[in-house]
Amino acid sequence: MEITFPAVNIDSTVPQLIVALFAILALLVEVFSRSSRMVFATCLVGLHIALLRSLMQWGRGIPYESSLLAVDGYTTFFNVLFILIAMITLAISLSYVENTRVDGGKYYPLVLFATLGMMLLVSSMDLLMMFLSLELLSISMYMLVGSQRDKWVSTEAAIKYILTGAFASGFLLFGIALVYGATGTISFSKMESILGGLTGGVPPMLQIGIALMMVGLGFKIAMVPFHMWAPDVYEGAPTPITGLLSTGSKIAVVALILRLFSNPFIQVSSQWVGILWVLAVLSMTLGNVAALLQKNVKRMLAYSSIAHVGYLLVAFITLSTRGMEAILLYSAFYAVMGLAAFGCIASLTRAGGSTTAGEGERLKAEDYTSLGYTQPVQAAILSICLLSLAGIPLTAGFIGKLYLFGAAVNAGFVGLAVIAVLNSAVSLYYYLGLMLRMYALPGRFAPAEEPVGSLFGKLVLLVLGVTIIALGIYPTPLIGAVKGAVTALSAL
């Protein structure tokens, strides 16, 4: 048997390669220079190069090798998004890492590896590729979550995350096995044609396979009832990593679900739309109600991110182009909002962060009282994020929700849209409540507090804040990009 290498267009995967290369390079830099700032710089440079390279691919579908990876407009859109997310995560990590004595030399490269996982996940056209990149992402995240070695909560979060995560992976793997068994293939495109030619009902094997895959994937996006890990892990993880968890890793899996469920599995959509309807409602409601009661800010945002998954699902189950656009748009918006929010919290960490739970970080809602007067920049940006998360107009979040709910209404899911908006109304209460607390008028003799956070960090946050507002006022460029990406997806 002669081994012939398949015709591979390496050019198409250059951004991914750059990310991988620079991650390894950064590890080497760490070995030789011992300066975590150098590592940081290397990673950031690598991401910039990858970003440029990705942008060069913008709007072009470049075939790699059809059965494993799809490098198309959809992938490029998400690649750019993930690289940006990684850059922001790095940027908001810088002072946090130094404050909390995390081993930056390995932390930064791991962020890059996680990014690589996300990028590959989005372009997967194969269950194997999907599984591997998902694991790359997950394993990097396990480690990042536990990277604050000398802090128990971080360790506990890591062990919880890996135990539940591996458990979920088991489900996913078994689900994949059953799907493979039912269809005889692991390639998306083949699967689509096989499922398209399906006659005489859906085989139960496939049903169960999809169900088990939904468990595994639902876990990654923290969908109710597979969400339980999220608040704990979000709280324990280093705050920038919480940001990455709630945005990057979630968006990557959502993007994958979109590709998987809207192409191969759409043939059997009647099987899972109904259950997703219920899960969407549950996610929104539980997320919001829990956030309403939560006094810990990081956990509150964790629950709110669960609710946001619910919103995304609302658009997803419409299975329409409009819904896909809405999801992409909202994902991008949510990435900015979430990262900025967690970035603010990270940047509010007081120097000399220490070993026990929560010390140095502002976790409790009381810690935010009158913050607007002592830490004006972070408070202002956090306020913008909260407004945006709440979906107040003139912020990105509003446009996102408009698209989401619009998609639902358009597809006739008016009841779902109504539930979603009512949830949105409930969510307003806790978002605005935190804001109100931040601007609670201080007494005349309130103790002065030194501003915290590095200038660089504040600048990054400022850029994010402005982006949220700018996108809220003029979202058209992004909408154009999203439309292109969705066209690529449906052109498969």
Partner: protein, 166 residues
Amino acid sequence: MENLFFYIAAILAVASAGSVILQRKVMYSVLSLIVTLLAVAWMYAMLSAPFLAVVQVILYAGAIMVLFLFVVMMLKYEKTEIQRFRPGLLWCTGLLVAVFFLMKLIYVINRASSLPPKVTTLPPDFGSIKSLGGVLYTQYLLPVELTGILLLVAVVGVALLSGIKK
């Protein structure tokens, strides 16, 4: 004959798997798991996957289990939860739900009669190292490389977590 072999392997696998979760001591669980893995390797061999069977024995039963044993022995964790075992709410519902889940799974898959028809004639080298290698290094080259990165990540991660600093 084949039936017999299968049933022996199956009973061995299931019994030892049961043993994994029933043993009081972790050490015994590890040893039971090794038996399970070997039984699975046996079944791999019977399912025309000789290479996998070998890898299963070497990688799993060999390497991973050593890792387990090593950790278990290093930690010398004598307390087992069995000593303090009280079937609480969580335990009961957990067992109930899990068993129900298993039953459901078995029930549904039993009904799954729509498996693709069994291929009667397999190529002679099906599952051999050569055939697998042929696929791996052509079609699945990228995953293989990805696996390399994955392992690198694991190394870096473990270093990060165990605090290895120069």
